[in-house]
Amino acid sequence: MTEVKQPMDPLIEQLEQVKGRVAKVLELAKSLGADGAEVAMSRQQGLSVGTRLGEVENVEFTNDGALGITVYQQGRKGSASTADLSEKALTQAVEAAVNIAKYTSVDDCSGLADKEYLAMQAQDLDLYHPKALTTEQAIIIAKECEQSALDSDKRITNSDGASLDCFAGFKVYGNSHGQLVGYPSSRHSLSCVVIAGTDDQMQRDYAYDVNRDFSLLESGVSIGKKAASEVISRLNPQKLSTMKVPVLFRSDIANTIWGHFIAAISGGNLYRKSSFLLDALDKDVFPDFVSIEERPHIMKALASSAFDSEGVLTLDRDIITDGTLQTYLLTSYSARKLGLTTTGHAGGIHNWLVNDKNIVSRGNKEADFDAIVKTLGTGLLVTELMGQGVNIVNGDYSRGAAGFWVENGEISYPVSEITIAGNLDEMFKGIVAVGADVDKHGSISTGSILIDEMQIAGQ
C-alpha cells in the first residue's frame, strides 16, 4: 500500500515559496492598475480512510489548493479565485479581478482593512501538528473505533462506518499595505456512525472527536462506545403532546443557539437591518449571570487565529459581560457601513467561552450534566435539531427536534418527531442556566443551555 509522505517539511517549504508567489501576484495586480489588492492562498493535503462493518470502504488522498484575489480601483472592487495554481491561471485570475473592477460601482466603504489594525506578524499559536500515518495504520484506527461500537451492544444492527481524517496545510495572506503573513495548521478527526433497531424502528447516531494534535484525539474505543450508547438511548422514541415546557439544549448542540446570536450581532446583518438585535450594544441581551469571552490565541485550539481573513489582528474580547452586549462582530466593510471600527471578525469568530457565574462545576462532565438535568426538573432535553427554521430578521425560531423527556430531574424516555418553537430574543432572556458540562468540540465552549419555556408541537 501507499505510504503517505511525511507532510511536514515539504509543506513548510511550500509555505515560504507561496509567500513569494503571493507577493508576485500583488505586484502584478498593481502593474495592471489596481490601487489596492489582497491575496489569500491556501494548501491542504490529507488522508481520509473510511471503514464499514470491519472492511475498508474508502481511501481518499486529498490535495487542495486555491488562490483568491480582490483588487480595488478607485473604490471599485473585483474578485477572482482559482484552484488551478499554474502561472497562467494566476495571471488570468488577476486579469479577471481587474476587469471586474472596471464594472462594479464606487463604494466608499469598500477597500482593504485600515493599516493600523493589521497583524504584520503571524503569532505562532501551535496549530501545526501533522501526523504521518500509512493507510494501513489509519485503517487499523478506524476499524478499532467502529468495532468498539459494534461490540458495545447487541441492539447495534448496522453501521455507517468509522472514518479517520488527517489534514495538514497552510494559509498565506498578503495585501498592498505590505502585509504578508502565513501559518501552517493541522486537523485530525475520528468519527463513527452506527445504527440500532430494525425495520421501521431504526435509529442512527454518531460520536466524534477533532483536534489539531493527533495525540490528543480521544481514543477510537471511547468514541465507538459513545456512538453506541447514543444510538441505543434513542431506540423506541415517543412523540410528545403539544405543550409549553422548559427546554434544555444539551451542550453538544447548544452551540447552535450561540450561532444564531452570532448571526444577529454580525455587521452584515446589522447594516442590512436584518437582525432582531439592532441597536443592542450596551443593552441586556441575556440574563446577568451569562458572560461570553472571546480568546483567539489559545494554543492548539480549533478556532484560534492570529489574524482574521482580512489580515486584521485578533484580540481578546468580552462579547457579553453580565448579560450585556459589549461588541458587535464586524469586518472592515460592515464597520465602515455602521460608522465603527473592525473587530477582526472577517471569516467568523475565534474561540468563545460561555460562562454562567452561578454554576459551579462538580469536577466532571457527567456530574455537571446530571446537575443541569436536575435543574430542568420536568421538561424536554434536546439532543438533535433538524431544519433551518430560524429567522434572524425577527428572531422567530421553529425547528425539528429529538431528545428525551425528563421527569423530576431524571431522563425518562426518548422522544422524536416534534418541533420546538419560540422567539430568539425571548429565548435568550429566558435562559435559566448554562451548565458546567462544557463541550469543547468546536469554536464555542459551552455547557447545556436551559430555557424557561418553549412551545412543543407533537401529536
Binding site: N58, D84, M386, V393, N394, I456, G458
Partner: protein
C-alpha cells in the same frame, strides 16, 4: 476531437493512449473498475446592494479525479494539475486499496454522444458586462417600484460553464458541456418598525437570455422581483403559526422539497445497499398512498437538475421510483448498482473532480393527479396551506424529515384566510406519504433554485409536485 477533449486532454498532452495506459496501470492489480474524471469550470457572480454593484467575482477550477474500485472498497485521489505525470501519481495512490477485486481487462473506449438535454452554450459571454450590470439594476428598480415599503434590495446573478470528460475501464467515454445560470432577488420590507425579508429567483442549464424570456406574460427577471416583494409583504402581516397536528395542503412546485426529503434521499442506492434507509428492502411494497407516483427525471430540457450524462458517463434517465404508492426502484450509481445486481440509473453525481460520485437525485417530482387545487383547499375545515418553503432535511434511517415554510396561511372552513409565520413541519417519510389523500392536477416544477447537500457535496437539483393534501402533519408554530 470535440472542444471538451481539446481543453481537458489535448492542451495537457493527454491522448487516448495515455488514458488507456493509466487505466491499465490501475487494473493491473485486483481492481474491478477504474475511472478518470476530468473537469474544468468557470464561474462568475455579480451582486447589487444599496443600488450599487458591490461585488463581482470570477472563479476557475480545473482538475482530474482518479477512482479505483475493488469489491466494496474505493480508492480515490485527485490533482488540480492535469498532466500525464499528475494523472499517473493520482492513479498510483488510488489503486493502493486493491486486494478484493478480480482484475478485469480495460475495455476499448466506446465514444458516446449523449442526449442533448441542454445546449452547449457558454453563459458567461452571453451578455456583455454592461448588460449584466444593467440587468441587476432593472431587477432592483422593479422591486422598489412594486411597493413603497421595500427598503432594501439585493440582486445576485451567477453563471457557470463546465466541461467534463469521463473515461472508464468498462469502455465508458463521454464528454459533456454544462451551462448553469441563476438570478436571485432578495428584499427587506419595513412597515411601522416591523421588518421581513424574502427572496425569489430562478435558473436553468442555459445562458442568461433565459431571464429575459416571457413566461405568463412577463419577463422572468421582473417576475422574480415581484415575487420576492409579494412574499415579504405577506410575511409582514403574518400571525404566529399554530402548534400541533393539522391537515396540510402543499402548493404546487417548490413544495416538492417534501418528496426530496420524505422519499428521495431514502431511495438513494448507497443507503439501500447498506440497509441503512427506512426504505431498505421494500421494493414492491406500498410505501405511499396509491395517489402517489414519484419519478426522478434527469432528462427534462434545460432543467437545473438535468444531466445529459451523469458524472460516470451514464445517460440521464427517467426513473419511476414509486408507482401508485408501490416502491419500484432505487437511484443508483455504478458502484452501488453493481453491488446490488441492478443497472445504473444515471444518478451517479459528484460536486467536482475532487469528490467521489454517489447516487444523487436529479429532478424529483410527483405526477399530476385528478383533483383541482380549489377542491383540495375546500376539503379542509381547519388546516394549513403552504405554497412556499425555505428548505428541508431528513434522517434517512429513522425516516424523520423536516421542511420549513416561508409562506403559509390558515385554511378555515375550506377557505385560505390569514397568513402565518414561517414554521417547521416534521413527519416520518413513509407515514406522511401514506397520508397523502388528494393530489392536484396542477403539476409544476420549481423555478430552478434547488441545491442538495449530501456528505459535504453540493449539487444542483430540481423538485416539483402538484398541489397535494396530507391528512396530518405536525406543524411547529408557537400558538
Amino acid at each position: 476531437m470535440n472542444s471538451v477533449e481539446q481543453v481537458l486532454l489535448a492542451d495537457s498532452q493527454i491522448d487516448d493512449a495515455v488514458l488507456s495506459k493509466t487505466l491499465k496501470s490501475i487494473m493491473g492489480r485486483k481492481v474491478d473498475f477504474a475511472d478518470l474524471y476530468f473537469q474544468s469550470s468557470q464561474h462568475e457572480s455579480w451582486m447589487l446592494e444599496d443600488g450599487i454593484v458591490k461585488e463581482g467575482s470570477y472563479n476557475m477550477e480545473r482538475g482530474v479525479g482518479v477512482r479505483a474500485i475493488s469489491g466494496e472498497k474505493t480508492g480515490f485521489a485527485y490533482s488540480d494539475d492535469i498532466s500525464p505525470l499528475a494523472l499517473q501519481q493520482a492513479a498510483d495512490a488510488a489503486k493502493g486499496i486493491a486486494d478484493a477485486g478480480k482484475g478485469v481487462q480495460v475495455q476499448a473506449f466506446k465514444r458516446q454522444s449523449p442526449l442533448k438535454i441542454y445546449q452547449a452554450v457558454e453563459p458567461l459571454g452571453s451578455l456583455t458586462q454592461e448588460q449584466k450590470i444593467d440587468l441587476l439594476h432593472q431587477v432592483e428598480a422593479h422591486a422598489r417600484q412594486a411597493d413603497s415599503r421595500v427598503s432594501q434590495v439585493i440582486v445576485s446573478l451567477s453563471g457557470v460553464y463546465e466541461k467534463v470528460l469521463v473515461a472508464a475501464s468498462d469502455g465508458t467515454y463521454g464528454t459533456d458541456i454544462r451551462p448553469l445560470v441563476r438570478l436571485n432577488c432578495s428584499v427587506l420590507v419595513e412597515d411601522n418598525g416591523k421588518r421581513e425579508r424574502a427572496s425569489a429567483g430562478g435558473g436553468a442549464r442555459t445562458d442568461y437570455s433565459y431571464f429575459f424570456e416571457v413566461e405568463q406574460g412577463k419577463a422572468r427577471y421582473l417576475s422574480y422581483a415581484e415575487e420576492a416583494v409579494r412574499q415579504a409583504l405577506v410575511n409582514l402581516v403574518a400571525v404566529a403559526a399554530p402548534a400541533g397536528t393539522f391537515p396540510i395542503v402543499l402548493g404546487a412546485g417548490w413544495p416538492g422539497v417534501l418528496l426530496h426529503e420524505a422519499v428521495g434521499h431514502g431511495l438513494e442506492g448507497d443507503f439501500n445497499r447498506k440497509g441503512s434507509s427506512t426504505f431498505s428492502g421494500k421494493i414492491g411494497q406500498k410505501v405511499c398512498s396509491e395517489l402517489c407516483t414519484i419519478v426522478d427525471d434527469g432528462t427534462m430540457a434545460d432543467r437545473r437538475g438535468s444531466v445529459s450524462m451523469d458524472d460516470e458517463g451514464v445517460a440521464g434517465q427517467y426513473n419511476v421510483l414509486i408507482e401508485k404508492g408501490i416502491l419500484k426502484g432505487y437511484m443508483q450509481d455504478k458502484h452501488n448498482a453493481k453491488l446490488m445486481g441492478v443497472k445504473p440509473t444515471g444518478n451517479g453525481r459528484r460536486e467536482s473532480y475532487a469528490h467521489l460520485p454517489m447516487p444523487r437525485m436529479t429532478n424529483t417530482y410527483m405526477l399530476a393527479g385528478e383533483s383541482s387545487p380549489e377542491e383540495i383547499i375546500k376539503s379542509v375545515k381547519k388546516g394549513i396551506y403552504a405554497p412556499n418553503f425555505a428548505g428541508g432535511q431528513v434522517d434517512i434511517t429513522s425516516g424523520k424529515f423536516v421542511f420549513t415554510s416561508s409562506e403559509a396561511y390558515l385554511i378555515e372552513n375550506g377557505e385560505i384566510t390569514t397568513p402565518v409565520k414561517g414554521a417547521t413541519l416534521i413527519g416520518s417519510g413513509p407515514e406522511a406519504m401514506q397520508k397523502v389523500s388528494m393530489v392536484g392536477n396542477d403539476l409544476k416544477l420549481d423555478a430552478g433554485v434547488g441545491v442538495c447537500g449530501k456528505d459535504g457535496q453540493s449539487i444542483p437539483v430540481g423538485v416539483g409536485q402538484p398541489t397535494l393534501k396530507i391528512d396530518e402533519m405536525t406543524i411547529g408554530g408557537t400558538q
